[in-house]
């Protein structure tokens, strides 16, 4: 009797543990909606970061390229490729492509792109050399230790309230 109960408890707890951690595949496994290459855009064609991420300089959020920005070029460029045709078809149907997020700081961190760029920090410092990546990925840990190292080195504020409101 006790044995059976122990086994049931065991199964229930393991199920709980698995359920508590977030379900789903990891970021690396989720395919992007189209084969977008940062290398092709930022390195080969020398398109600046701010062209597609225009809000980074003016807002805490870097923001994603609005679908109309992609279409702005691609209504002329590379229209023969199937991925571009997919982009144009989705845009015409009023649906923006959905991207996978791979840079994320926790909710209790109030990170502002605007302040870091205003201070002259290069995008590469946190995002790595995106221009050399076919598929964008996270290269810096983006954990508190890394933030603190940089803040100390650049003599930026290390007060708790700077990042945690």
């Amino acid at each position: 009797m006790a044995d059976r109960r122990q086994r049931a408890t065991c199964i229930a707890l393991l199920a709980c543990a698995a359920g508590c951690s977030r379900a789903g595949a990891s970021a690396a496994e989720a395919p992007p909606p189209v084969a977008f290459s940062h290398k092709l855009h930022a390195a080969d064609n020398e398109i600046g970061c701010g062209v597609c991420h225009p809000y980074a300089r003016h807002s805490p959020n870097a923001g994603l390229a609005p679908a109309s920005t992609c279409v702005g070029c691609h209504k002329f460029v590379a229209k023969d490729k199937p991925d571009i045709q997919k982009l144009l078809a989705e845009f015409a149907a009023g649906r923006p492509l959905t991207w996978t997020r791979n840079h994320r700081v926790p909710d209790h961190v109030f990170f502002s792109h605007e302040r870091h760029l205003a201070k002259g920090l290069d995008c590469k410092a946190c995002h790595g050399d995106v221009a050399e990546m076919q598929l964008d990925r996270q290269v810096q840990p983006l954990e508190m230790g890394a933030c603190m190292d940089c803040h100390r080195e650049k003599q930026a504020s290390t007060d708790c309230l700077t990042c945690h409101k």
């Binding site: 709980c16 809000y55 807002s59 609005p66 009023g94 959905t98």
Partner: protein, 616 residues
Amino acid sequence: MSDAGITRRFFLKIVGATSVAASCSPSHAPEKLVPLLNPPENMVPGKPLFYRTVCRACDAGCGVTARSREGRVVKLEGNPEDPISGGALCARGQGELQELYSPSRLRGPLVRRGATLAGAPWSEALQGVQDALSKLRGPDGRIAGLRMLSRWEPGSAGAVQKAFVAALGTSPAQRVVFEPRDLSALRAANAALFGAPELPVLDLARARAVVSFGADFLETWLSPVEQARAFMATRSHPDRPRLTWVGPRLPMSGANADTWLRVRPGGELPVAIALLRFLLDPANRVAQLPPEAAAIRAALPRLALPEGVSSQQIARLGRELDARRPSALLGPGAVSTGPAANALAVAIQLANHVLGNLGRTVLLGLGSEEDAPSPESELRALLDEARRGEVKVLLVHRRDPLGELPASARVEEALRRIPLIVAFGEQLDATARLAHFVLPDHHALESFGDLQPRRGVLQLQQPALTPLWDTKAAPQVLLDLAAALALPGIADKDFHELSKTRWQAAAKQLGATLDTPQAQRNLIARGSVADEAALVQALQAGTILAAGLDVYADEPRVPPALLELDNAVLIPHAGSGTQHTRAIMGRLLVDNLVSWFDGRGPVTPVAETPWPPKGE
């Protein structure tokens, strides 16, 4: 331990296994990012936008600032420049967002099909209303049995309703304004005493003593935000105003009182009469009594003081009011409505008159000229007519008589006899459930409009977000119906245009200038940015009120037509000559030089700068 069925060893095993299971699962799930399709021009994700508009949660008409993030309003606060709210907002106003995002809001028009209401496109609903109205029109094109029941609409929306009823009905009295929260007793008292059925505006900042007969003036009564601000402004002074609360219970305003005269419900009237008697009694030598004091005293009824209040307390209050002038007597509040409420309101206003408060702290003559709640008798007449089957069409605008009136009013019986009910509103309330057409209205934060809550104050209402659902502004629907039915006398097609014309006219009356879309133009960019000839024309015609110009298209030749204008200020391309700008220019020069000699190139290169170096 083993009695509970779990041994220590088993417990440790489980802890180990669950932590392994938790760490094996993926560290983070993929998050999806959905970009905008076409970004609105003035929107930066992550940065709020602020819209000045007006709160419609009650009749006070506070100006508010709506904070919007990514196209959604997330917070309302008072507009600091507003004469009524002065930068504050009450709980009810803050709660407007709950109304806006309420899951029970109507998401599209509903049309009655037999016993049920079913969703329908706007075209079908409007066609249905139009056909039903056409059938009821008499040979003169009017409907004798048309009635409209609306909330108080002191602005363009009310004007459209009045025009619609005047054009389709047979009498303006067919529109009834029903405000269940209206302070009708105070209105009636002012009508009886001063000939104007309106509510006062209070200037509590000047009052040195306040007596409230159950009026929760800091929370909900009359214009709570304005009153709370004025009252609290002087409350911290050493000679702060004294507050006396007369009532059966202590709401927020009562809890702030210095003295509580505790009476049972209905006991406020004897207290007010006793206070008036004390003030008017020559033996008490109250100063500056009006000449009609004796006549008023003779007309006062004799009422026994309620249990718990002594004549000494009344005398103390009377002496305080005599000494501390001006004072303000407020009431009756919602807790003291009832058969005696009208008498109480008269007694309160008489006391204000006797103490010389009228025109000092209690201001009359500021009621809105636009619209006024109808007396209760009109609502009762409407329901009686409906029960007799005389009402053929009822248009209900943002009111729910079935939900808001007691069962004794027999509203359901009345509504069920009306062959056509069209309900405008945000929710499917009890009245709308009996309607034949339910036409969902925008929320106040989604629509244009204007409001004259009192004389001299004109509030403009503008949308702070695009409508969340398939709704349509109720006055626009009336205009569309008027056009479809070819109603005489209604030429306007667009409610926003109508509202703009009306508020420009009203602003002119107030002496304000709002009459140009682009009031003035300052030109400090390159001269070719503006079409100079068109600018001269616009300035001559007055389309642009005034201009300040620093640069010209063909310098140094300035068009003589510009020089002749009285409404243009011209300077000879010297606009950067301010200390502030020159300091920034100096700093930028240094930044450029430092960057150049560090080998990083100039900060602000121009076309001619040899950077990046060519041929390397």
